[in-house]
């Protein structure tokens, strides 16, 4: 008798405790997540997106209602389109999510002309951080000291700019940015990876290079590169002109967003759980510290903000489509 009573008490206490810990689901433990979650990364291990996921995912696990593992899965084929298509076709139960490069995915789809996935239909969960903006760099040994020098050079001859291949965001940023600024360019394309084309400018292959801020910062700190102009609305580099100063506010729209999404049709409660966990992970001290050391701003976005952002980016890049696709 006494045992049963004690057992009842324990059970009752447990139920009360769970009711207190999971306010939205008073009587039973939440159904989601009940097993491991797959985090699809459409790139090879070691790259920028891969690193972000591997830093954030283990922290995100802590903020999920149940204890499960978030397993990063790299699917690099097809320049990333394989992974995105895999995410698109997965079951919308919240057990498969992925990270997407916006506008990278738009550009890739433009290049490949693929109909395997519709970027408008993904269930947007949030974004890892504030979008990265671009800056114009020159090698430390370059004779160009200010943006005015660059503009003057462009009047004399096309500026040689080292960029990645046409399927990359740096290429798009360079093309659009120089169009907006009225600079004549000769693109030296095809450099692979995020560091190679900046080193090209340091080495003297090209006159200048347009790279994202976190990448550029590595080289700036090492003293090998100088920033001439920033595409941000307000420059974070002292003494360097920005989009507002240069009279081209559109430059601030060129950014690399790391968007987290699930397949179309995830139930709203599940989407919410994931979204909240992601937001809390990005505010976690471990992540904040890492972000600071790597010049990244880890501000999270709500699903609504993300949807808006994606639509905005799509409109922007559709406008520039003719400059980016092969003739």
């Amino acid at each position: 008798m006494q045992d049963i009573t004690r057992r009842n008490v324990v059970i009752g206490a447990g139920a009360a405790a769970s009711a207190l810990t999971f306010p939205g689901v008073a009587r039973s433990a939440p159904a989601f997540p009940a097993k491991n979650i797959q985090f699809v990364i459409p790139y090879a291990p070691g790259g920028g997106f891969d690193v972000y996921v591997r830093i954030v995912a283990p922290v995100m696990e802590k903020y999920l209602p149940n204890k499960v593992t978030i397993v990063p899965v790299n699917v690099p084929s097809g320049g990333g389109s394989r992974g995105v298509a895999q995410l698109y076709r997965a079951k919308p139960d919240g057990y498969t999510i992925g990270i997407l490069n916006i506008p990278g995915m738009f550009i890739l789809q433009q290049q490949q002309g693929s109909g395997a996935y519709d970027l408008a239909k993904f269930s947007w969960i949030g974004a890892m951080g504030e979008g990265e903006r671009y800056v114009i760099n020159v090698g430390a040994k370059s004779p160009l000291k200010t943006f005015a020098d660059l503009k003057a050079l462009s009047a004399k001859r096309p500026i040689k700019l080292s960029v990645t291949g046409p399927e990359g965001t740096a290429y798009a940023a360079s093309v659009i940015g120089t169009q907006l600024l009225g600079l004549r360019t000769q693109l030296i394309t095809g450099y692979k990876g995020s560091a190679d084309y900046v080193v090209a400018a340091v080495r003297g292959d090209s006159d200048a290079v347009i790279a994202a801020i976190p990448t550029s910062m590595r080289f700036v700190r090492g003293g090998t590169v100088r920033v001439l102009a920033s595409f941000e609305a307000k420059s974070s580099f002292p003494g360097v002109p920005d989009a507002t100063t240069l009279g081209q506010p559109d430059l601030d729209n060129i950014s690399v967003e790391r968007v987290v999404a699930g397949p179309p049709g995830i139930p709203p409660e599940v989407q919410n759980t994931l979204s909240v966990a992601l937001a809390k992970a990005l505010a976690d001290p471990v992540v904040v510290k890492w972000a600071k050391e790597n010049d990244v701003v880890m501000r999270s976005k709500t699903p609504q903000e993300t949807t808006q952002l994606v639509a905005q980016q799509r409109a922007f890049f559709d406008k520039w489509k003719k400059y980016l696709t092969p003739s």
Binding site: G46, V75, G79, K160, T189
Partner: protein, 520 residues
């Protein structure tokens, strides 16, 4: 004024030595050594299984390193990277299955040795060459590290293009007995290399709309097919076991392989130097380095026809180069963040997660960690060789397994590994197709050496050429304005003319001998 400069330099050297010793000291803790050992075991296993390699191993270990100190995480990674080549050599020799792409060069002479029953000798030699190559590579890296960044900056697209041509020229002239057929498959390899998205001009080529081919023909699945699957088909036709029945399997003592290496010290040193120098320049990559070392040794040898039939030097040369290359490939990775291959790319990811940004600052702020990493890599390489040597006897027994059992098991693992590289089922198809191609090449006597090098170099060489043209604004003068380019062009000319000179020289010598014989 001179005195001050001299003092500054001496101080710099002293500081470097201090850091160098600091790296060693940091390693000599029981827990850190434990991680190096763990990395070594993982590296051996992953290196042996085709398709998995250092890349997969480090990617999988990343979550495990989260709680570790940066130094310890690097020690673990170094342990993995140092042992992978040895793991790969074992399967290359025993089963003609390259565990990693560079080990394909070891297959060329390593497997014939296994077929002759000398698997133990080959593994022993590979292990010893690995170890010595790593030591020579490490010492060279430490010597080069201070000027590393300047060195990397001296090589740009024009130099990379010419280096690619140089490698192709050496390999082409090395297959002396089969040069015409070698050139034919070299052309085939280049044709295949151009499949995929064109990085320079945009647009896809030769993909016929297949999305998988956007990145081109994936290299490692193709190599697994060319070597492993082809050999398994061959075994199915031949029957019996890998070690041809009738040849007594020489259960060689541990030291036999080691002795062979000491007999061929010039080969080891040559291979190590090639590995170190070419590895420090982010242009060619480990696979090309291994084949280059193999070809140079074959050219320099007195009986080049014996290569491909079980010449022990054909095992020693690439193995020394691979390990030396692994050490020096760290240079462009660490100083500039330019990964010298997929394994280095993942390794860079590991660095970033632990708060170490590859770049000029890395050398300044994390010198001790870098030296610790290099020590760990070397230690792991040497240790892995010992482990390989220890297990020589049981491993050699695999060559006595009947093909009826061996073939299905190897094919299953090969196809699974091929798929696992990047989760693409088309990899299996590529492996199967190249398997048939590889068998046909074996059967009709076309050398596989050329096709591998052409496959690896094709796309990069073209890209570097176009970039050079864009840099030089369309003129060819860019190649003439840069001293290193000019040097490379002379080297290419020399390599291409060498066979002609040698042929003429031989003719003259033959004629002279004949004249003497029929003389007075």
């Amino acid at each position: 004024m001179f005195a001050a400069g001299e003092e500054h330099r001496q101080k710099g050297i002293c500081l470097m030595l201090e850091m160098w010793l600091g790296g060693l000291q940091g390693l000599l803790h029981l827990d850190v050594l434990g991680f190096v050992f763990l990395g070594m075991v993982i590296g051996l296993v992953f290196g042996a299984i085709p398709g998995l390699g250092g890349t997969t191993a480090i990617a999988l270990l990343m979550p495990l390193t989260y709680g570790l100190e940066p130094f310890t995480a690097l020690a673990l990674a170094g342990g993995v990277m140092g042992a992978v080549p040895m793991g790969g050599s074992i399967t290359s020799i025993l089963l003609n299955t390259p565990g990693t792409a560079p080990n394909a060069a070891t297959c060329l002479d390593g497997h014939p040795l296994a077929q002759q029953g000398k698997a133990g000798l080959a593994i022993g030699a590979a292990g010893s060459a690995n170890a010595i190559g790593a030591i020579i590579g490490t010492v060279s890296v430490l010597a080069v590290l201070p000027i590393a960044s300047d060195l990397v900056l001296m090589f740009g697209p024009p130099e990379f293009f010419l280096m690619g041509l140089f490698a192709l020229a050496i390999v082409a002239t090395a297959t002396r007995g089969k040069m015409l057929r070698g050139l034919v498959v070299g052309a085939l390899g280049l044709m295949i290399a151009f499949v995929g998205f064109n990085d320079v001009a945009g647009g896809e080529r030769f993909t016929y709309g297949i999305e998988y081919l956007w990145d081109g023909i994936h290299l490692v699945p193709a190599l697994i097919g060319l070597f492993a699957v082809a050999e398994m088909i061959h075994l199915m036709v031949k029957g019996g076991s890998v070690a041809q029945s009738g040849s007594p399997v020489k259960i060689t003592k541990m030291t036999a392989g080691l002795l062979e290496v000491f007999k061929h010290m010039p080969t080891v040193i040559r291979g190590s130097l090639i590995g170190t120098i070419v590895g420090a320049i982010p242009g060619l990559g480990g696979t090309v380095v291994a084949f280059l070392s193999y070809s140079v040794t074959a050219q320099a040898s007195k009986n080049p026809e014996s290569f491909g039939k079980g010449n022990i030097q054909g095992v020693i040369a690439p193995e020394a180069a691979i390990c030396a290359h692994d050490c020096s490939a760290l240079i462009p990775t660490l100083t500039f963040g330019i990964p010298a291959g997929a394994e280095m790319a993942v390794f860079m990811g590991l660095l970033i997660i632990h708060g170490m940004q590859p770049g000029p600052l890395m050398l300044r702020d994390h010198q001790v960690e870098i030296y610790g990493l290099i020590w760990a890599l070397t230690a792991s390489c040497v240790l892995a060789s010992f482990v390989g040597l220890l297990f020589v006897k049981p491993l050699a027994k695999i060559t006595q397994l009947d093909s009826g059992i061996l073939v299905p098991l190897v094919l299953s693992t090969a196809f699974a590994g091929s798929f696992a590289i990047d989760m693409a089922i088309e990899n299996v198809i590529v492996t199967a197709v190249f398997g048939c191609l590889g068998y046909l090449m074996m059967r009709y006597d076309y050398p596989r050496l050329m096709i591998v090098v052409a496959l690896v170099l094709g796309a990069n060489t073209e890209r570097n050429f176009h970039q050079s043209m864009l840099m030089g604004e369309g003129g060819w003068s860019i190649f003439l304005n840069r001293p290193i380019s000019v040097g490379l062009m002379i080297a290419i000319a020399a390599v291409l003319c060498l066979p002609i000179f040698r042929g003429v020289f031989n003719q003259l010598r033959v004629r002279k001998l004949a004249a003497e014989r029929s003389g007075p």
